[in-house]
Symmetry: C2
Subunit: 361 residues, 2 copies
């Protein structure tokens, strides 16, 4: 049974490091070194100390911190889900930088719902998080911008820095640090890669009106067509919803069912969509790249496993940068805008186009 330490008024109080040292018959410094794992100590000393820790129910720092009402500093991150590899890698970067800075990490998920995002922001503010990092693409309407403007100022007033990560600034009413990566440039490069291999009819899988990431990638696709003098056919742009594997399967399957194949290459809006689309193509006996060339976006699993040419995004660096800039910023309402670069990763999913697409498969 653990021993209770009685304080002056006879009531039990939590054990301190001094109690442990006295109980084990060693110095406070020795206890401290053993618990931090930095003491190459004799097993007998370690045993004495560990037994004292257990018998007194000692938890380091709880007593002093509890009295002082000190709460651990924290960094908050708000993401769509924790499953999608992009968000997971950004979150990993946030965690690493936060741990390096001795901060706790609070994570909220939104399922892509704006109301849940706003609710999460309020909760983080009540937690007095030092930084609130919003990750991933979004479809901001006017009402959302108005409320965000209010929340951003409230966060700043509470000493909390707002960071937009992987999405563009929300305008002068919403003071925030913005850490983005080059979506449009990456999409331009990926499309140019296909155009250079002779593909003129390129299916774009995953257009989504009003959403910041799809909009910027479609813009790069269209800009590349224009730069190469290839006519833009809106009929080659397929609308999609969430950027997940089964959505890619659905879009490709429905396209193949709806009309004879009129494209020789596919630009999938991300690697998950590419993987789903690839499954639908394989069901029809179409091989990548021999029958259909494909590029994706992200350079995340399963890109390497399906030999996919894609666009690399510095996901973890996005997360680390978001935390670093937030903690470094001296005034919580600061505005700053950083753009990280992207580049193509060439694998084996693109073949030169040696003829026009013709007729049904």
């Amino acid at each position: 049974m653990p021993r209770r330490i009685a304080s002056g008024d006879g009531k039990p109080r939590p054990a301190t490091i001094k109690d442990v040292a006295r109980h084990a018959g060693v110095s406070v410094a020795t206890v401290s070194r053993i618990l931090s794992g930095t003491y190459p100590n004799a097993p007998a000393t370690r045993s004495k100390v560990m037994r004292a820790v257990r018998e007194l129910d000692y938890v380091p720092n709880a007593h002093a911190r509890g009295l002082a009402g000190v709460r651990p500093k924290s960094v908050a991150i708000v993401v769509n889900s924790v499953i999608s590899p992009h968000y997971a890698h950004v979150a990993q970067g946030v965690h690493e930088e936060a741990a390096r800075a001795g901060r706790l990490c609070i994570v909220g998920t939104t399922g892509g719902d704006l109301e849940r995002e706003l609710a999460a922001i309020q909760l983080m503010r009540e937690e007095h998080a030092e930084a609130v990092i919003l990750v991933g693409n979004i479809n901001p309407d006017e009402a959302y911008r108005e409320r965000m403007a209010g929340y951003a100022r409230a966060l700043a007033a509470a000493g909390s820095q707002l960071v937009l990560c992987g999405r563009p600034p929300l305008g002068p009413d919403v003071p925030a640090i913005v850490v983005e990566y080059d979506n449009t440039g990456g999409a331009f490069a990926a499309t140019s890669h296909l155009l250079s291999a002779g593909h003129k009819r390129i299916l774009f899988l995953g257009r989504r009106f009003g959403y910041t990431t799809p909009e910027s990638r479609v813009a790069g696709y269209r800009a590349a067509l224009a730069a190469h003098g290839v006519p833009h056919d809106p009929g080659l742009e397929v609308d999609g919803a969430r950027m997940v594997r089964r959505e890619g399967y659905r879009m490709m399957r429905e396209r193949l069912d709806a009309r004879p194949r009129d494209f020789t290459a596919v630009f999938a809006i991300n690697d998950l969509i590419a993987a789903g689309a690839r499954e639908a193509l394989r069901e029809r006996g179409l091989r990548i790249p021999e029958d259909v060339s494909m590029v994706g976006f992200d350079d995340l699993p399963p890109a390497a496993d399906i030999d996919l040419t894609t666009v690399y995004i510095p996901h973890e660096e996005l997360g680390r940068t978001a935390v670093r800039l937030a903690l470094k910023s001296e005034t919580p309402g600061a505005s700053e805008h950083v753009l990280l670069g992207t580049h193509i990763v060439v694998r084996d999913s693109v073949c030169p186009n040696v003829g026009e697409a013709s007729g049904p498969d």
Copy 2:
């Protein structure tokens, strides 16, 4: 510029919902309904209210909650990393159940380091998390067990429920809710699947002495060999470290370099290891399943993309169950043990074995 509301002593105070209602010329009930999104209201009313919200910097509930010192209730989860698909899916289950119960989620990552895990537990305790959920396999030595015993009691004394998720109980000294899944049964089934296809020389990739998950999967593998009367050859068990893709590549490549191939099938300890091993086999011109059969474990990406037969684990249900049992438990020091089932998912990575492995490839 936002307006400041002056309180009785002339100092500015945060706006309340009554201030917003007065400012917009509507009732408090109307403001409440508009902000919660449940009022199919006239655009003019909505505009008035949103403008008042913005001008007064109103943040719902902050004033009252701040005065009361009420902190949001939270659930804490401690994982190896947030990148590995298994942990990401368990964390997603935790988030969903926590959100359903109105709890915040605090996430700590450990990189597999026991010291970092113990430090994270203390931090969660100081945050007064209602539940502290430790996820994933571990290599508990005697010192770890002693310290965990102390922390488990300290958590219980602070009203915090300890949950071990995806790892076995730590003994009677460590009161905890334990939510596991059937590692050994799943490994037995996967190995039997290969044995039934005639494979007698099955390479096990990823043995790791002292780690709970690899130990239980190796146990299932060996039990299946024994049940089928196939001799156990320890030379067919390859040691590995972290269960990540490049480790699978390393193990397979080194094995193929070290000796002529003496196996016809591979049991990879998880799907990421399988994907890495597959890359090494392909580099040698070996196809799955025609030349080498393979099974994995997890049924997570990239299993479907590489047609991998594997073992399904109910990852998200693990996370949801952990939270549900923790919040339901009436005494924080409760002990409970739940085992969720696993099952084989048959795809296309196993072929019948029609001859003995012979000579180098």
